[in-house]
């Protein structure tokens, strides 16, 4: 599982320069986690065919029959018709697939569905309550922080996570937390404006 929160205070570009070291560290952590789980449950092999996987998405149980290799993103998009989060780079670079799993942002294109069973998964589809938008979503609409809209779900989720983590987010914190998302239409200026506006709407400090 990739977690954007694990990244040190680098920009995406700085991070790429040290990606060799970073991914090594991630790999070690993941292996240890997997090992611990396997030891607890006794050795067992899943797949290669469909296996039952139950996810908890936006507070609802979603039972699925999928191959163990299916990612969280593909499981929800292709099997549960939760298509809000997008597949863009499909390898944990662009952030369009960003979901919140147990309070932390993850690249769902690089997270296996079987690995997040029993965890609270939040996608962009679950943020609005009926027609009532989440303040972050409302702020994006108000300042036109979107054009084609394909990166937008990822940016919205990343901004929600930012403001849940730092209700009084500084400019630097906001930029850093949103650096894992890429937009091709060029909405960054207004996405940043939306994040700051949402902070105020949600009761955070001005400025």
């Amino acid at each position: 599982m990739s977690s954007k929160d694990d990244l040190p205070a680098f920009s995406r570009r700085d991070f790429l320069k040290t990606a060799g070291v970073g991914s090594l560290a991630t790999a070690v952590t993941t292996a240890t986690d997997a090992e611990a789980q396997t030891q607890g449950a006794g050795p067992r092999v899943l797949g290669p065919g469909d296996v039952p996987v139950t996810l908890t998405v936006n507070g609802r149980r979603v039972p699925l029959q999928i191959e163990p290799r299916v990612t969280l993103l593909d499981a929800l998009r292709n099997r549960a018709d939760l298509t809000g989060n997008k597949r863009v780079c499909d390898r944990g670079t662009c952030g369009a697939c960003t979901m919140i799993v147990d309070g932390r942002t993850v690249y769902s294109c690089s997270t296996l569905a079987i690995d997040v069973q029993g965890k609270q998964i939040r996608t962009v589809d679950g943020l609005a309550q009926g027609d009532r938008l989440h303040p972050v979503q409302q702020a994006f609409c108000d300042v036109d922080a979107l054009m084609c809209g394909f990166c937008t779900p990822g940016f919205v989720v990343a901004t929600v996570a930012l403001l849940e983590k730092y209700p009084n987010a500084t400019v630097e914190q906001a930029k850093r937390e949103l650096d894992g998302n890429i937009c091709r239409c060029g909405t960054f200026v207004r996405v940043f404006e939306a994040a700051m506006k949402a902070k105020t709407m949600m009761g955070g400090a001005r400025g």
Partner: protein
Amino acid sequence: MAKYSWPEKPTLISTPVKRLDGPDKVSGRAKYTYDVNRPGMIYGRMVRSPYPHAKITSIDLSAAEKAPGVKAVLEYRKAGDEVLYQGDPVAAVAADTEERARDAARLVRVRWEPLPHASNETLAMNADANKWSTTQANTRPGPRQETGDLDAGFKQAAHVIEQTYSTHVITHVCLETHGTVCEWDGDKLTAWVTTQAVHQCAQGYAQTLKIPQANVRVITQYMGGGFGSKFAPDSQGIICAQLAKKAGAPVKLMLDRKEEHLDTGNRPSAFAHIKAGVSSDGKLTAFDGQSWGTGGAGATSNFPLPYLYQFPNRRRAHTDVYINAGQQRAMRAPGHPQGCYLTEILMDELADRVKMDPVEFRLKNAPALNPNAQYQKYFVEGARRFGWEKRHPTGDPTRGPIKTGMGVSAHLWGGGGRGSQAHVDINPDGTVVVKCGTQDIGTGTRTIVAIVAAETLGLPVSAVTPQIGDTQYPFSGGSGGSTTAASVMPAIRVVCVDALDKLFEKVAPQLAAAAADLAAEGGKIFVKATPSKSLAWKDACKLLGTEPISVNGQWQDGLSSTGTSGVQFAEVTVDIETGIVRIKRILAIQDCGLIVDKLTAESQVYGGVIAAINFALFEDRILDRVTGQMVNPNMEMYLLAGMSDVPQIEVDLRNMPERGVIGIGEPPTVSTASAIANAVRNATGATIRSLPLHPHKVLAAIEQERAGGTI
């Protein structure tokens, strides 16, 4: 024409109106092609050439056909065919899950006879170069132009510069990759396509599949970026329809990120060897340019040169160079960013030769003031606003490794409209539905359709339902060349004016007035002379009984025009120890005729500027010269700006209502890279004559400058 002319005092047009589909997009409810899941749908996957140049010896689909879940296989090419680039499509499969389709695609056995390849312009132009194709030469001479007297021009020159300049290949990187969902009902095809041109796509399907166009419906409700690369069904669209036919099930075939880089277009490279002269008083006298570039495997690479500035005597010859790489496609202002960069760097070099300020030098050589050429105004106003007087001469004299510099650049674009048709229904319950077979590629077309209809009918935007993105609606052309707004808005205005006239006729007896004396505003229809004599919109529409007002119409001349201008300023810092360029701020002055929605129009200017920051500093399609493979067909090594890379950007959008609607998608992306490059030159004192401004090139130029000069 006066009947249809734009209102003198609009209440909605030119104001900031929020994007109508914003709530659908931010909530994930908006269904893009990638999100369409049809009952019984299966997944398509293509098999492509791993070689840049090869002959197909044989294709064996038998193992793939037997793989779990596979419902259809097809050969797209046949034994004996020549493939001309990495990613050239060869075959395809469809299976019940995406994962199984990928597995099956790997089982397609293709035998190849690899052929020598040419993977960059220089290698392809060598006398003993490998041939990109067994049937066509590596180069093709393009158009030649000559104006004035070149020899006389160079005789008038006090200074002459002779240098080679270049820009690189970049790919569109649409976030929603190219692809379609195809579903047959008997001999009728419905295709959800991520496209900038629904009607053109329907035509493409009909022609390629040899079926009547009447049997094809193309739908694009939402589209995740195209930038010029999404006008046709392409191989993946046709293959998807064929797989769906064979499998008897709807098929989704979306390309993956690597395929997107390899086979869905790119911006061609541009090179030019230029000799240019300037008189001692700073007037351009002569330009002699030999240019070349590659649009990949058999595609053109021409671009405008010299750009914008007036060389009275000039000659230019262009050569297309073919290499083994995916073909170019139109990319946001095709040709202009290249021509602009090549010319604007030269302009600063010439200005230094005559010891003139770059703004002053440009004022001397830019076109005279015209509605479509506002340079004389924008340079002066922009310089004042940007604090240009603080700019130091070439080379920041400040001590320490961080150097600061400013640069300026200008651009032009055509835009303009034609041909769109539209339909409006005013229903007896007061609802208004406007239909047009255009598409919203992210620019806000859906929103501005509603704005123009609402303005015309005197209603709030929310009272209008715009319906677009479907070939069941009246014809509108592809969204390219910044022509959508200027084509569609006049058509909407025409049908709504005509529909309102019909409603006035119905209402007139009730208000005891002549239809010609009525007006619609603020949700009411009233007598112009005595506004108290009025009917609420809903009550007026009730008079229709059971029969709605339905009007068809089309674009008419007089509501749009062509030709826009823009000037941009940039300030950068350059770390001369690392070569890293950071942009501090950018000012973009831009016009686009009548602004329809201030909010979404400004967004496009921001977007254009940011796209050009990528072109200047980050993105680069890198082909390995030995293997002919793209080294960075992904989004981690194909660099794009993130939030921290984006500077302060000031947008100064000028409204020119008297010119009608023109269009703004492309122009703002043209000159940013040149302004940045000139700012880097101003900071470092070193001239970098090729994009992108990657750190190693910046350092090399600084080294060269120290060793004896880059001039």
